[in-house]
Symmetry: D2
């Protein structure tokens, strides 16, 4: 359950969360995408053909999307499921949060 932090901002519970058991593979994927971002910078510096740069952008976006889907699956399986089992109003907050996150992913 979210609580209020010292400065009044909403402090969401630090984990471990559903994804924590698979941290190393998530970090590995993010490091690879970080490397692709450096690659994109080299392509721009070296005046590589626009279409080849756009192809790399799609590969990086796809990597980010796969990471997001894995995190979402873990979130549904752990955080949302736990809120359902716990009963009470928290399930509504969790479902609304997850749906809003999915909507943001759909818009990009």
């Amino acid at each position: 359950m979210a609580t209020e932090g010292v400065t009044g901002e909403i402090v969401k519970p630090h984990g471990p969360h559903g994804y924590s058991h698979d941290k190393e593979s998530h970090l590995k994927r993010l490091r690879r995408i970080e490397g692709q971002l450096r690659g994109l910078q080299r392509m721009v510096e070296e005046d590589v053909y626009c279409i080849d740069i756009l192809t790399q952008v799609s590969a990086s976006t796809k990597g980010l999307q796969s990471f997001a889907l894995q995190l979402l699956e873990e979130h549904l399986r752990h955080c949302v499921a736990a809120a359902a089992v716990g009963g009470g109003p928290e399930i509504d907050e969790k479902v609304a949060e997850a749906t809003a996150a999915i909507a943001r992913l759909l818009r990009t």
Copy 2:
């Protein structure tokens, strides 16, 4: 016009291309997204709440998408327009390439 490289691979013309005149702003944007990828790794290491990580993923994907749209606009304005003015079959290749790149962006 694409030509064959020494080892037979298709060597697309190195620029400068349409985006070259605005390189510094493209590089600045890519460096910022690269920084966001490092931020995502810290969030995973620190067991930050899943939804907050997904929000950051959407911000990074949106940044990549804006970069792609700018590059695409420059590509249409320079490379595709030049092929049209040049006449001959190159315009078909350029349009097919651009449409395929847009399709890839739509699928991610």
Copy 3:
């Protein structure tokens, strides 16, 4: 729980489901999008400018996406939550199904 139908195909449980309580508003939205599809056909028949047709396509796609998000929210709140409360392996099937559906939505 999914069961096998007479001809061996997987027969998923007919509802009512999470969305059933709001059927009329879902049907109203789908009828409007259906009308937009007829509008698109008229635009093509009347040789309307390409960009104006593409603008209408985005509006219709957005309508479909909003419908999908609402259905997804209801599915998480009812079907997935019920599977979590029920305990046992069904939650894994429900989460995997929902994630696969989200992945398909992201790819279009």
Copy 4:
């Protein structure tokens, strides 16, 4: 070139446009998607399982996306290319319009 209509609204040139030569296949595709919209309404009326409805939504969105990509390709090949050959400022308007249409498609 866009001109001002009788009531001052911007009247974009009625075709024929790039897509006009392939009208029948575009209309056939739009009719099929219209039929899918009616199918979605039946699924909702019959309380079909949420995930199966979401699968159909993705199929319809994909159909709309393919239609949009075909129209875009024709637009680039004819309207944008013609503006480039014509010289003058119209190419900038055409490229800006096409990029904005692509951006809208990316956001859905």
